[in-house]
């Protein structure tokens, strides 16, 4: 007897972690596994036109059929075999195990061109896997084979083993609006009234190309991803702010500022406009989606930051999100925005987002070399997990430590 999904998920619309389309849980489809069934029948494998069109996937796959998506298994009407392959009814991507049973958090990552989104995402996942996991007593693992192989080869190996900086991300226009997010399964124990219980969260990281935020038309290409995201990380390169750019450590590679590049303020405005256009957002209220405004490459400005600044302090440990430390960083970043004559960023965020936080991070800890390789003294990330932890805490996936916060 197939186990039914948790009823509390039955009424809540789900969002596919691959295509970010929303659908009710019962609409989840199934894909035949293509193996011979007990009746001796076997479905023919063929290219799925939906997968081909949306994901450029030309693999030979079993047929997709509709069934009660609230169940974990279904019987294929073609071969009468039982299948456990639950797929998105829109993009036909195989959904992670227990999708709909566990939390699914979609985190979109956008930012201005050359702000280092891909590097940041690579280092972030690496940090979660290798350092933060032990701190939070959590584990993160790829939710599907594609993410596993893509993250290992195209992201982690490239940066950490080959020491190569990643190339620019293809824009949605170039890739035919086919974006393949990296999907991970984040597991940790959450304390309960009696003991603790494992809690799993599906995380979908969507890395948008910077070019896609340079005009309203291109932003619209990513509208579905941003509009349906549970949390958004916006990377704004401080070196694209004229007030900070002149203070950068000599020798720091400066991002372009000519055609094809737009100011961080304008990028933020377009993202905000797109979110405001979402039917989920009331025009008379602030946007409720948590927005982490991340200023990367903070190492290039470290010499302008005082010794007592929270941006010079060690990253807090502990298994819960440190609210006080995060607020201190937020205040310090606001002070720096004023120092950089970029208060407009703060004003845009404050007036449009009910939940927002500023962060200063450094993914590499130093400058890449002139031939676009990782820093010669290694990758030394600083505070890269802060925005992620804040989003998880805002979305209820991890606990908060408010002891350092003013009551």
């Amino acid at each position: 007897m197939p186990k039914a999904l948790n009823p509390r998920f039955g009424s809540r619309p789900l969002t596919c972690p691959y295509c970010y389309e929303r659908f009710p849980v019962r609409a989840i489809s199934f894909r035949c596994n293509g193996r011979m069934s007990r009746t001796g029948n076997q479905c023919a494998l063929r290219v799925d036109p939906v997968r081909e069109a949306r994901m450029d996937d030309r693999r030979q796959l079993g047929p997709v059929f509709a069934a009660d998506g609230r169940k974990k298994t279904a019987q294929c009407p073609g071969c009468a075999g039982e299948t456990r392959y639950r797929v998105c009814p829109v993009c036909h991507s195989k959904l992670p195990t227990d999708f709909g049973l566990v939390n699914d958090l979609l985190i979109a990552m956008v930012g201005s061109k050359e702000s280092g989104k891909t590097v940041y995402m690579t280092v972030l996942v690496h940090e979660i896997m290798h350092r933060m996991g032990a701190q939070l007593d959590a584990a993160i693992m790829a939710a599907d084979d594609d993410t596993s192989s893509r993250y290992s080869s195209a992201y982690e190996k490239l940066l950490y083993t080959d020491r190569q900086m990643p190339a620019s991300t293809d824009s949605a226009e170039v890739s035919g609006n086919r974006v393949a997010p990296l999907v991970f399964r984040f597991s940790m124990n959450r304390p309960r009234l009696l003991g603790s219980a494992p809690m799993h969260t599906v995380l979908s990281f969507f890395d948008a190309a910077g070019e896609d935020l340079n005009s309203q038309d291109s932003v619209d290409l990513n509208g579905r991803y941003l509009g349906n995201a549970d949390g958004i990380i916006v990377l704004l390169d401080p070196l694209q702010l004229s007030g900070a750019r002149r203070d950068a450590t000599p020798g720091s590679p400066l991002p372009g500022s000519g055609p094809g590049h737009d100011t961080p303020e304008n990028v933020l405005v377009r993202i905000t406009d797109l979110l405001r256009a979402s039917p989920r957002v009331s025009s008379r209220r602030s946007i409720d989606t948590p927005l982490a405004v991340v200023f990367p490459k903070i190492d290039t400005l470290a010499h302008t930051i005082g010794a007592g600044s929270p941006l010079m302090a060690a990253q807090p440990g502990g298994s819960r999100f440190d609210v006080g430390d995060s607020l201190d960083v937020h205040v310090e970043m606001m002070r720096l925005l004023k120092q950089w004559s970029a208060e407009q960023i703060d004003q845009i965020v404050a007036k449009n987002y009910s939940r927002h936080r500023f962060f200063g991070v450094s993914a590499l800890g130093g400058n890449p070399t002139s031939d676009m390789r990782a820093p010669v003294d290694g990758i030394r990330p600083y505070r890269v997990t802060d925005p992620f932890l804040w989003l998880l805490s805002e979305l209820g996936a991890i606990g908060k430590d408010s002891s350092g916060q003013r009551s």
């Binding site: 290798h130 607020l327 205040v331 002070r335 120092q339 030394r380």
Partner: protein, 585 residues
Amino acid sequence: MTVYGIDLGLTSGRIAWSAVPGAPADRALVVPAGLAFAPDGAVRVGAADDQHPRAVPGVRALLAQGGAPRPGSPLSAEASVGTVLAELTERARAEGGGTAVEAVLAVPGDFDVAATAALRRAAESVGLTVRGTVPAALAVCLHYGAVDWGVDRNILVCDLGATRLELTVLAVRSLSVEILHSAISRIDDVEAADRAARVAGLVAEAARSVATVDVEDVLLAGAAAADAAVSRAIVEAIGVAARCTEPDFAVAKGCVRFADFGYVRVKDGRGEGPERRTPRSTVARHAFQAASTPPDDDPEPRARVVDDPDPRVRRPERPAPAPTPPAPAEERQVPPVREPRPSPSVVPPIPAMRPPMRSAVDAKVQPPPIVEGPDIAADGPTAYAPRPVVGLAVIRRTGSAVLSWQWPPDGPEARVHWRIGTGSNAETGTASVSRHAYDNQGGFSLEIGPRPAEFTVEVLVPGSAPSAQPPSSAVLPAPPTAVRYDLTLVGGRRKRMARFSFTGDVDCILPDIVVVYASGRYLPSARHEGREIHRVPGGPLQRNQPFETEFSFVGFGPGWLVCFPEESAVPIALHPVSLHRLRVV
């Protein structure tokens, strides 16, 4: 635990120890280093002028001359030495040396590896556990405190005994010591009145022999060095003052210092002359290594002093070890000529060292382990040698130091040594850092608190030739005196009080404090961005004893309350405990 430092001289043996374990040696005694025989044939440690035909005037010479017993003597060379060592330790115990069984042995300049091993075995045969062996010249440097972090000096050690003079020139670069030159000369053929001049002449000759460096310090050791005329003659000869503090026990007390000194790397930088019989290039030593007893045939690798004009201390030539690659392990077990193997009490010669592979950073204070590296070379073991690193940098993050450096492409592991704090309270330690752990941890971090710290880093790279360069070093100075302040708002809207508390890391003078109110969303960076609303008079502030002050705070809108210090003679760093807590609404 008390550790004996033992200096076996030609005519006298000296032992030193400390009444307080770990402290510098404050007790010492001397016994003759010869064997005499009673009429009934009983052996006793006695004066060298015993006329008995089997008497041994100095047992050390037996080892230096190849370990053959004195003709007619009932005791082997090792047993003879052991008898003297036993006498030394027994007397030390009787003099309040407790029940110590550990010892550090000084290795004279004319000892080769076999002689050193024999000395070690002799000590162990009388129940001593040898914590380590140390070249006598290095022991003298340790006695004078000439080896330390940040030291960069060229030192001439002048060990003046009753019959001969041992001169050693060393280059001290932090915790890396290179022996540049050594020579042994007879002086017993010189009249006492002319001895000082002869010593000065030999010192000047030794100083000139090392053309590449200038001798900056002269350290005196040996009983005869206490003669003030020697010091004066040296000053006149080379223009460098000679330091002379307890010279007769300098070696023995330096051995005690070595026991708890930590890491020091010794490199033999003397040229490969034709007379070198046991060429050794580098010996890495670590005082923490001595827990296990070495095998009987486990001599200390040590360069033999070669510039020895005294034919009496020469011994028959031995074939030098073949410079070819080492034979397979099975063959080395039964070599045609017994080759010394590295002792567990000493880090083995660098060419034979393999990088200890660990899963993560291990910051415990312990010796670098000698462990097979499982993944270093698929086709056989690879030798690794230390090299200084490029681009060593260290930054302070709250109470931690974060180190970074550039890894060579073929360096799988680095060694980090540190000293935290200053003076007698300084903490030293060492850690092996794999590149994998470095990459995953984002550098190497160490908790140091608000103290200064010094680090050296060297990376292990394939190869057998040790580097001539000392490890890379970096210094993290102590942070300025810091006072942290916190704001608490008390009361409601009608009557509000702002309460500030100031807490210092150390005892300090708190300067006058100006409290500034700034309205708006942004934290003020300077006084002029707000207006002064209160002034806190300065005064003494005791460590970790908060000083609190409060004042009325009514009628102000949302903004920030920030403290700025007035200028003071001793500037302090004034930091808020938490930035967001300075916000008032």
